[in-house]
Assembly symmetry: C3
Homo-oligomer: 303 residues x 3
């Protein structure tokens, strides 16, 4: 593996390799001294063209736990302001000795474009409405940790499927590992072609009753302005993961959310902090999965 661009491009075996590698990585971050020398002398750059704390910090901490150095570039302060092209920015990072570049960009395919010429490893940290593979991999890791398997599970993805890169990366990865994917949410926000990969179930309550796992998507609040949903209250009433809806589901229904949450909109506070929720654990697993990704891309094995 040279780059990590999306789960669409990964084989089942590659996905399993990353998940297997993430387990020993998780042990490291639970230690008293969270530091191994594996990637000492490697440089990892985060190049974020969209604001983010959670994902960026997760990628940066993963690097630090492995003793890599990090360099962080955000649009606000970068030469991008001076009109530098994405290509030249990447050439520059490469020339400075950067070994891997984690990129988040509003344009679909930006990481794939970079991977077409970059000598440094490219990690997709979220591209437009296309993919967010590390998020899907941490979701799968979390599910497998709790359910013992992925194959045969019914995994419901709930919310704005159309605009969600988290949904897409999850759907591809879950399908490859043999899960049965169900999607639910506003009909206006579920694209037709998703039926290739998933069962569409517009009845949220019915979908929840069937599910072993529900992954609640964050509602992008700007969707309301675009007229795609009527109101936040309506959204909550019709599609929100409420205590009542959860009560009608399986007792061991596992609840995931990629964060940050709009509590009281797509998910209720008491659900988010309930026994069935593994939302905070997803965050820990995110660091572990990103450590595994770095390890596999940067050949930590030989170091």
């Amino acid at each position: 593996m040279k780059h990590l661009l999306g789960t669409k491009d990964l084989t089942k075996e590659e996905i399993l390799t990353i998940l297997d590698m993430a387990a020993p990585m998780k042990d490291i971050i639970l230690r008293e001294i969270k530091k191994v020398p594996t990637l000492r002398g490697k440089i990892i750059a985060t190049l974020f063209y969209e604001p983010s704390t959670r994902t960026k910090n997760s990628f940066e901490l993963a690097a630090k736990f492995m003793s890599a150095d990090t360099v962080s570039i955000s649009v606000a302060t970068s030469a991008v302001q001076k009109g530098e092209s994405l290509r030249d920015t990447v050439y520059t990072l490469e020339a400075m000795g950067v070994d891997a570049i984690v990129i988040r960009h509003s344009r679909n395919g930006a990481p794939h474009y970079l991977a077409s010429f970059s000598k440094a490893s490219i990690v997709n940290g979220g591209d437009g409405q296309n993919e967010h593979p590390s998020q899907a991999l941490l979701d799968l890791f979390t599910i497998r940790e709790h359910k013992g398997r992925i194959e045969g599970l019914k995994v419901l993805i709930l919310g704005d499927i159309m605009h969600s890169r988290v949904a897409k990366s999850n759907i591809y990865a879950l399908s490859k590992l043999g899960a049965e994917v169900i999607v639910s949410g506003p009909p206006t926000l579920i694209p037709e072609h998703v039926k290739e990969y998933a069962e569409v179930c517009y009845d949220v309550d019915a979908a929840i009753r069937k599910a072993d796992v529900v992954n609640v998507l964050r509602l992008q609040l700007e969707r309301q302005q675009a007229g795609l949903i009527t109101s936040l209250q309506d959204y909550h009433a019709t599609y929100g993961l409420t205590k009542e809806r959860v009560a009608k589901g399986k007792d061991d229904l596992l609840i995931l959310h990629p964060g940050p949450m709009n509590r009281g909109i797509e998910i209720d506070e008491e659900v988010a902090y309930s026994r069935q929720s593994v939302i905070q654990e997803q965050v820990s697993n995110g660091v572990a999965v990103r450590m595994a990704i770095y390890y596999l891309l940067l050949g930590g094995a030989q170091a």
Copy 2:
């Protein structure tokens, strides 16, 4: 000690423990090689909801001198922008393996709220108009270093007492260690209840004549817009620490200021850089005191 929220909550013994621990820490930062492995593999996050360089850098350098890794979150670039709650931000940091969180927030009590549920240690880096304990501790360390003691000293705090978290943290800590605290400044900016802890002396010149130490507060320039002071010139004339005022005080009057200074307003340039001023030393001591705080909170002893 699990958290550092304010000097109000500290015992005399706890304050002395921190001050005693800061002395060997100061030796480290005066060395040619400013680095000890004490907190290797620990992660310290700075979470600043108000702009700051001085305090943030001081906390971050203190961490680096002890080989801890740091992660820095500022509001401008954080998920806070996406409406994430303070609680979820802290849960996220915790889940990522963060051991201590230094928080600065405009709301009084924000750190206390976080400490009520956080598994990570919370360090108050300044909360609203409430407390700024690490600043007070470094002020006391500096005073003790020069005067050999705190007990029995007359310490004047000069300026906007009402809105100053530095004033409050100093008053609590100084009182506990047996100093005699005097406050002076515009009557509109000295709250009644301060009389519980300190002598109020509206005559600045008389107050300076009595003092062994004067701690000049930074004037928040927005106070003028609020109509609490008439003009900066008036403020300087009536309450500024001028050369003339210092000349009438004790010859060994010790002059402190938390910085950044408004030179020519609350303090004159020649006073700020005079023989009696220890303002730059406070900055060094700030790093040492913060190292001591980390050491005590993060159990460096066992590492």
Copy 3:
């Protein structure tokens, strides 16, 4: 050497010492493990009053490759916002244990002012329209690496000479090492006094024909608004380094550009990525030269 303020102040021997030292530094960044312990326990601050990614990252990575810790201060988030003077900012950094300060400032002479009182080493990272010495040193390093020498070479500097600190630092350094400097560009952007150091040749094509090396300056796009150039199209037609112009030059003409490039304006895309271009190499060499600067300033030799 205590500070690096400009190439104007450097002797020929000092320049050669830096270039010679940069060669082993370059070896380090080409290694699998890009890290040496030379500056462990040293602190290097970047204090940038103008936006920059390229130069700031280069200085920070150079520090990290040598195991120094870094602290980064940008105007947007700094106490400068609170009206702190440049002097007090530097006093504060010094007091916190900072060993070297890399400053970029819009005012000519800002680094020289700081050097007049700072105990920390001051490195000029670009001051107004005055100097950008590390850029010139990396340009010379790159030229020498390819041509085997500087002395006797004809080096053309093309573009807005008047406002360019890169041009000035290059002209001083090249002259001291015995190169023959030619400048070309819009007559309105070439100051009279440059004739002391360089041959002025308004005919760009003639200048290119003579040159062994051409260093193309970045066009500051705001110059057009100021009426100093007519249009970007005109600029490109008359002064841009096009494929056609390069074809009329020497076959081994070496092409440099300090970046970030305005492709299609001062330089054509195919020229920028051609066989004769060493633009990306300049970026790598920039890190190496900055490592050499730190080494010489911070006495790595004794550490």
